[in-house]
């Protein structure tokens, strides 16, 4: 009997299907940005993935070594163009820390407001990307419609739609404009209502939910070890938010909840990672309301910017901030001149992309865009 099994096994071996490498990118509709994903597929299943980045590398860090401190701010806007304010905020915060100065209260609150507006707008861009990745253009267009209102707030605050060039070392460029607080509260109220339209469209549709449920599980340990940060990490049970646990710029004076899912089970799937961002948008609305109240309490004539020296004393320091996509860090080594000696940017996506191998293993091809959409690609900051 045992002998007769041998030819059968051989036949099975011969019937093995070949694995195939499919290369997605650099021009591919799923890559929101410019990167390549090499996928090894076995039938409909992915068995391996190899992300390739660097198509947008322009030596950002090297170029900053040739600019004044003040002239780097517009460049930081172009690091992550979905949420440009967070990076200029982070940069200014890092330099202020190196200078050892404290900025006015009002500037801190304005930065918080601007940050959260950017967070909502970036998450809406992400939602739009989820819509196209899932094959539903309605979600894309509806969230783009909502995003325009927040871009209008940017215009109202500083005159530019996306690359705002607004924070300054030692404060912000200008005070809040007239009626800005009224407009922002109206926009936020309106947004909270309109958001439910999109949520009904997605969460009430079993197709949407079943496409995200039960695929690409990540455990808490995996997330921490691989360096996956941001909403994706909080969906998998890591209870950590820099705004709460390592507060900067008066976030400790604001009362808000950090949405975390699966605190007990410590395993999260794609749908959890999706839910976190939706929750975060509502939390951001809350933060905006509180911060606007604080700005109003400070009065119109409160200072919003202080003079700072142009030269930064020698030494190394770093600032840390909760980006819409995760943990971003700027590491500044200065040598006492008016130009940074070295400025390193830690972009959350850079590490998150490296996790795509673990995220894509074992899922179907059709799920790969849905899984990777939860990273929320922004290649400008990844490649730098």
């Amino acid at each position: 009997m045992a002998d007769s099994l041998v030819p059968v096994l051989e036949a099975q071996e011969r019937m093995d299907t070949d694995k195939m490498w499919v290369i997605w990118g650099p021009q591919h509709p799923f890559s929101h940005g410019l990167w390549t994903l090499k996928l090894q597929i076995d039938g409909e299943f992915c068995t391996d993935a190899d992300p390739i980045v660097g198509y947008l590398h322009r030596g950002w860090e090297k170029e900053t070594e040739n600019r004044d401190y003040a002239r780097i701010i517009p460049m930081t806007d172009r690091l992550c163009y979905c949420a440009s304010m967070t990076y200029s905020h982070l940069y200014c915060m890092t330099v202020e820390k190196a200078l050892g100065i404290d900025i006015p209260e009002k500037a801190k609150y304005i930065r918080i407001v601007a940050d959260e507006v950017c967070r909502i707008q970036s998450h809406l861009m992400w939602l739009a990307a989820v819509g196209t990745d899932m094959g539903n253009l309605t979600v894309f267009l509806w969230s783009m419609r909502e995003r325009e209102y927040f871009l209008d707030l940017n215009v109202k605050l500083c005159g530019a739609r996306m690359t705002t060039n607004y924070p300054r070392i030692g404060g912000v460029r200008n005070d809040t404009t007239e009626l800005f607080d009224r407009d922002i509260l109206r926009t936020v109220d309106r947004f909270e209502k309109a958001m439910w339209d999109i949520i009904y469209l997605i969460d009430d549709s079993s197709v949407f939910v079943s496409r995200m449920r039960n695929i690409s599980f990540l455990t808490r340990e995996q997330c921490a070890n691989m360096g996956l940060t941001g909403p994706a990490m909080r969906g998998c049970g890591v209870d950590f938010d820099i705004r709460r646990d390592d507060p900067y710029d008066n976030y400790d004076k604001i009362d808000f909840e950090v949405p975390v899912l699966n605190k007990d089970t410590k395993v999260g799937d794609t749908y959890d990672r999706y839910m976190i961002r939706i929750e975060e948008m509502f939390q951001s609305c809350d933060i905006i309301r509180q911060a606007v109240k604080k700005i109003q309490a400070l009065g119109k004539n409160a200072p919003y910017r202080i003079k700072t020296p142009t030269k930064v004393p020698a030494g190394t320091t770093f600032g840390r901030l909760e980006d819409p996509r995760g943990e971003s860090i700027m590491y500044l080594a200065s040598d006492g001149t008016d130009k940074p000696y070295r400025l390193k940017v830690r972009s959350p996506i850079f590490t998150n992309v490296s996790c795509s191998k673990a995220m894509c293993k074992g899922v179907r091809i059709a799920d790969v865009p849905a899984v990777l959409a939860q990273i929320d690609m922004c290649l400008g900051e990844t490649d730098r």
Binding site: M20, V22, H28, P29, F30, E44, G131, T132, D133, M134, G135, N136, L137, T138, V139, L141, W142, R145, L201, S205, V207, F208, S210, R211, R364, I365, A366, D367, V368, P369
Partner: protein
């Protein structure tokens, strides 16, 4: 030979049914129109030729009954195709406008409220370079397009618009339409292979995967309907619905058939063969210019056939309950078909694309039992003597 001098002597406007060679057994409006047109054209030509060369053979041949049937059939073909084509353009226009409105946009706005957009697209694909990638299997690459487009045109022409607007009136009309309709996925599979592109290969395989999942419930429902009607003849099926549409007793069947019809013409949410985010353009990735334009046209032709089938089988075709036939049954039929297409657009706007394995699941675990339940209901109705 009679001496013909006046033009009106040459154009006689006889009833085509008195022509012994008429291929149609019953009234056929497009054929009547085509016959009348040919009488005008052929008569005028014959008159002109007769003026120059009296008593020649050619003018006699031109007004011969057999010649008239031949040319009338040619014009008839053109007429049927043009009507199907215009219906498809209207479908396309409706899709763009309705989808635009669903998404808070205006849709396209080029000429005549956006209707000319598809004409512009067509002209543009005409202008584009006809590229054939270097490493494709050229024969299959080109022939598959022709077959897909040709079959789709054929099927679109075969759907009758009313009992007087049809191409053939076989007793097995429904089956023939379905048979031609189900052929296209094979050619999609072959063309996906021929393109030497991994995306299109996966797309082609997915088209085959899609086919085995919805074709069976779809055929069961067609069998159910023909069981109720007692024949596969489209006329019989429609005539049976002059009081109650089949959508009321066969509601389950309607739902299942509607979604299967969406899957059959590979429209979103069942467009896994050309799933944009995964497979760029799926099995059409390497097609460019005119070929791609024709493929898009074929897609919409198949869409309009799907809608027509739903209208015939469940919504009473060209009849209105208790009134029966109207003066313009074609318009009644088209309005119903467009309503079904409108529903399809709404579904497209609301639902995300489903996964291939989900389609298999839905096809075999949901649609299949529902179709069988539907069949059971039909059997009970038949036994109860209601139909």
């Amino acid at each position: 030979m009679v001496e013909y001098s006046s033009l009106l002597d040459w154009i006689r406007f006889i009833d085509p049914n008195t022509n012994p060679y008429t291929p149609f057994l019953s009234d056929n409006l497009p054929y009547d129109i085509a016959y009348g047109l040919w009488e005008i054209i052929g008569g005028t030509l014959a008159w002109l030729v007769n003026l120059l060369f009296p008593n020649n053979v050619v003018s006699a041949w031109l007004i011969d009954e057999r010649t008239a049937v031949m040319f009338a059939l040619l014009i008839f073909m053109l007429l049927i195709f043009i009507v199907a084509f215009v219906v498809v353009l209207l479908n396309l226009w409706m899709e763009r406008k309705v989808l635009g409105r669903l998404m808070d946009r205006r849709g396209t706005m080029i000429g005549m409220k956006g209707f000319l957009q598809c004409v512009a697209d067509g002209l543009k694909t005409f202008m584009k370079e006809n590229t054939i990638p270097a490493k494709v299997d050229k024969m299959t690459y080109i022939w598959c397009v022709s077959l897909i487009v040709g079959l789709s045109c054929l099927v679109a022409c075969m759907v009758p618009l009313s009992d007087r607007w049809y191409v053939v009136n076989y007793d097995t009309g429904l089956l023939i339409i379905m048979a031609f309709y189900a052929l296209a996925p094979f050619f999609i599979l072959v063309s996906g292979w021929a393109q030497n592109n991994k995306y299109s290969l996966i797309g082609g395989i997915r088209a085959a995967e899609l086919m085995i999942s919805y074709e069976v419930p779809m055929l069961i429902i067609i069998a159910t309907i023909s069981l109720l009607a007692g024949s596969f003849n489209i006329n019989d099926i429609v005539n049976l619905q002059d009081t109650v549409w089949f959508v009321i007793p066969m509601f389950l069947g309607f739902i299942v058939f509607f979604f299967c019809a969406i899957a059959e013409c590979e429209r979103p949410p069942f467009d896994i063969a050309e799933a944009e985010t995964e497979l760029v353009e799926g099995w059409q990735t390497e097609y460019a210019g005119m070929k791609w334009g024709l493929i898009m046209l074929a897609d919409y032709l198949r869409g309009s056939v799907s809608c027509g089938m739903v209208a015939i089988m469940f919504l009473g075709g060209w009849t209105i309950p208790f009134i029966g036939g109207t003066a313009l049954p074609e318009i009644v039929f088209l309005i119903k078909a467009w309503f079904v297409f409108f529903l399809m657009i709404i579904v497209r706007g609301a639902i995300a694309r489903v996964r291939p394995d989900q389609i298999l699941n839905i096809g075999w675990k949901v649609f299949m039992p529902l179709a069988v339940i539907n069949l059971a209901i039909a059997v009970f109705l038949k036994m109860g003597g209601i139909y």
